[in-house]
Symmetry: C2
Subunit: 223 residues, 2 copies
DNA sequence: TAGATTGTTAATCGATTAACAATC
DNA sequence: TAGATTGTTAATCGATTAACAATC
């Protein structure tokens, strides 16, 4: 049973086979697969074929099999995919089992909304502290000027940045010094990575809104 | 002067030339161009060539020219692009000049965060009302059960959906009845369009967070 | 075993890049 | 005019789809 061998080992890509490195397009679809599989689990569906999953998601079965095959042989011929197994695999691939701990630098609505999103609600990422003036109910809160002193003790890997845009770049270099390896940047500041070990994701809150407006316009043209 | 002719007329694509219909990839880049041009304006830069813009944005000049050329001839040989003109053009293409009015169905942190994002802060979209129990400071607020009665009077085109997932689909059909043409869905519910005239954008708040974690993991592998 | 469905290879399609004539 | 830079066409590259042998 191929699947059983692969359960152990945290990240067993390329153990034997040479696998295609996942394209950007494939990687961007991973969260979507993760969500769908989670929904299947909620619905009590334990087994699914690429073609049924494809129909549900509105993509092709080929694409699904191609995407998954970059990471491992997760299915069984004649059977399909075990939903829970696949879900756990993708969870690992996405790094949800890496025990990430997040600090919030600055506190506002975006921070709050993220904290109630599935990723935090599931416990995939653990929120450990907030650096801000106003404190949310249930997280330890420190003044921003204590960042350099306190942060190294928190064993955090991720920072969620919600400061004023002007101070974002300065804060970023402190974060890098204190061992933060990933930054979710909600500020409008355009940040440059202070060192190569750090990953930044810029979040543009109104992108979906802009695309919606575009689509509303172009739909109208079609009629 | 080619550019002058095109200033009038709200949406003058395909006036004479046959233009390539913009690919999905191109469309998804439009908000990014919009942001960059806005930043150039803030910096007082009035003129830019595709190659300088490309360097700043980390893309190729070819791509920029291809993308823009789906929508019109916005540049001038030997000169480049007039930043303000181009910004206005893209603003129009994105539908920011369509006078969209938005209602918020349900009120939470995501709603609040969106309301303070550039699109609303700029006045590109006008918020007109909230349907929720708790009212934000400066917007008219109605109870959700008055939706069907009040909404038609508000002349709104966009609804920002932040209800409980269970009631989302029901609310959606009311929205469709009341003339809403675009919905920004922040709920975790998977919605199906009630009629063809409606456009839905699903927002997945934790996607950037998941991608960040993925990148943090795969970076580690590279070292 | 027979039926189903995978993982993968080859074929198609689309998007990006390079190059250049047109022209400001 | 000469230099610069566009819009566009052709060439390259990458991603998606189709097809099928392998196999559960």
């Amino acid at each position: 049973m191929k699947r059983i061998d692969q359960v152990e080992g945290t990240f067993d890509r390329d153990k034997e086979k040479k696998r295609a490195t996942p394209s950007d397009a494939t990687v961007r679809r991973l969260p979507r697969y993760y969500r769908y599989l989670s929904r299947l689990l909620d619905d009590g569906i334990l087994r699914i074929s690429s073609s049924r999953l494809a129909t549900r998601m509105g993509v092709t079965a080929s694409q699904i099999r191609q995407d998954f095959s970059c990471f491992g042989d997760f299915g069984q011929q004649g059977y399909g995919y075990n939903v829970r197994y696949l879900y756990n695999k993708i969870s690992r691939i996405l790094g949800m089992k890496d025990g990430h701990r997040a600090v919030f630098i600055g506190w506002n609505d975006s921070a709050h909304a993220l904290l109630s999103s599935p990723t935090f609600a599931n416990g995939d990422i653990t929120p450990v502290a907030v650096f801000a003036e106003v404190s949310p109910r249930d997280l330890p809160c420190y003044p921003l000027q204590d960042l350099r002193e306190v942060l190294p003790r928190l064993d955090a890997t991720i920072a969620v940045l919600n400061t004023a845009p002007a101070s974002a770049q300065d804060v970023l270099s402190v974060l890098a010094d204190c061992g933060i390896r990933g930054v979710l940047n909600y500020t409008t500041a355009h940040l440059t990575t202070p060192n190569t070990g750090m990953t930044i994701q810029n979040v543009y809150l109104d992108d979906p809104c802009l695309l919606l407006c575009y689509q509303m316009g172009s739909r109208a043209c079609e009629d």
